[in-house]
Symmetry: C2
């Protein structure tokens, strides 16, 4: 996708996928501005707007934070390789989706420090509860969609958790804010395939549980995949 190519809202929703390999070029300030502005227009519970976005580009804290996060991402990925069996089963075949995913992830974590922009999405909350997510993850999705609109990409990750104490101290994040996501952003490197999800029929029910919606159709050319690694073995 070329920078500046116009994207319709519906097309954007259907074509925004996780991007983990980035050109090291910085994002121009006006693009970064549009992406973050779009995030802040998202809804929050009772319009409290209790979210804050910490943007890390090339400042002194940013460099240190990226290094802390890079170590955490590498260690997180190393663990996931073991627990999710990336080196067994279909992961052994170099052209399997699993093996390709493993190479992308390895590149991602090995080059984390060169990510042009990393956004920490924070939310003021006293609890660790699902419903609080309703006031921060819509904004994260807006952020990723706005990035897509301008020819960038990113991915929503939770691998800051192992180094959260260190990050909080460095960035002086107040204790009443939780870090809900770490989102690296940049211009995609290489070719990126289409969004692949399970067939919508498996995910949308009509009037009762597990009853497929008779009115549901998918656009022609929709590509599918089974659920992620943990449920596939």
């Amino acid at each position: 996708m070329a920078i500046g190519e116009p994207v319709s809202l519906l097309d954007g929703l259907a074509t925004t996928r996780a991007i983990r390999r980035f050109h090291p070029d910085p994002l121009p300030p006006d693009h970064l501005s549009t992406i973050l502005f779009s995030a802040t227009r998202a809804p929050t519970g009772s319009n409290r707007q209790n979210f804050r976005f910490m943007v890390l580009t090339d400042g002194p804290n940013a460099r240190r934070a990226k290094s802390i996060l890079g170590e955490s991402f590498r260690s997180g990925w190393a663990k996931k390789v073991e627990t999710d069996g990336y080196r067994s089963g279909s992961g052994e075949a170099p052209n399997s989706p699993k093996a390709r995913m493993a190479r992308t992830m390895q590149f991602f974590v090995d080059n984390f420090e060169a990510t042009p922009a990393v956004v920490l999405a924070c939310i003021k909350t006293r609890h660790d509860s699902l419903i609080d997510g309703a006031s921060i993850y819509p904004a994260c999705q807006n952020l990723l969609l706005a990035a897509r609109a301008l020819g960038y990409g990113g991915v929503l990750t939770g691998w800051h958790r192992e180094v959260e104490a260190e990050l909080r101290e460095l960035l002086e994040i107040p204790s009443e804010y939780a870090i809900a996501a770490t989102i690296p952003l940049g211009r995609p490197l290489g070719n990126h395939g289409p969004v692949r999800r399970r067939p919508a029929k498996e995910l949308v029910f009509d009037d009762s549980w597990a009853t497929p919606a008779p009115w549901l159709t998918e656009p022609s050319g929709t590509q599918h995949t089974a659920a992620g690694p943990s449920e596939n073995g």
Copy 2:
């Protein structure tokens, strides 16, 4: 906004607001399909796609579920009127934003049963934790944005919680799925103003906490509001 009017991705992100007053007309099947399909294209942690969307329109369970939810919404709103002081302070002036919001909310809860479509967004999870929200609320945002693209609107609510046991029994929702949101959808009734949020400068920090991002600007004409009721008294 007219049905079918094309919307760019960036414009959609900046102009999608909560809609709580609906025409009672049903959504055409192809529009409902596009809205739900768009929701299912959202990301989930490790692409596990552990979300399910229960769509309630005019089936027998839908009618009963809307009635159960309607009672819960009315009781939830009645409590909020008291706790958030909708009848005191600026809420006493009939043209204040607070009083207008109160009238919209009263209409919303009084007419809940006539909402054309209600979507229960469910997620398979063993915990009640913030991070699980990363696998369901991006999809909820996609759903609301897709509705906007087609001239509909909705709002993400959590007022199913008081009647969750009853809903689960009626709809046979398995115990391993949490209901993360109840989202009413329909064609907006009347005029709806712009999205109003806090100035983006208050929400986006650069390199350290509470340091406004120097590169951040807002499009001209951006409208603002302070944070929601609880922080305003």
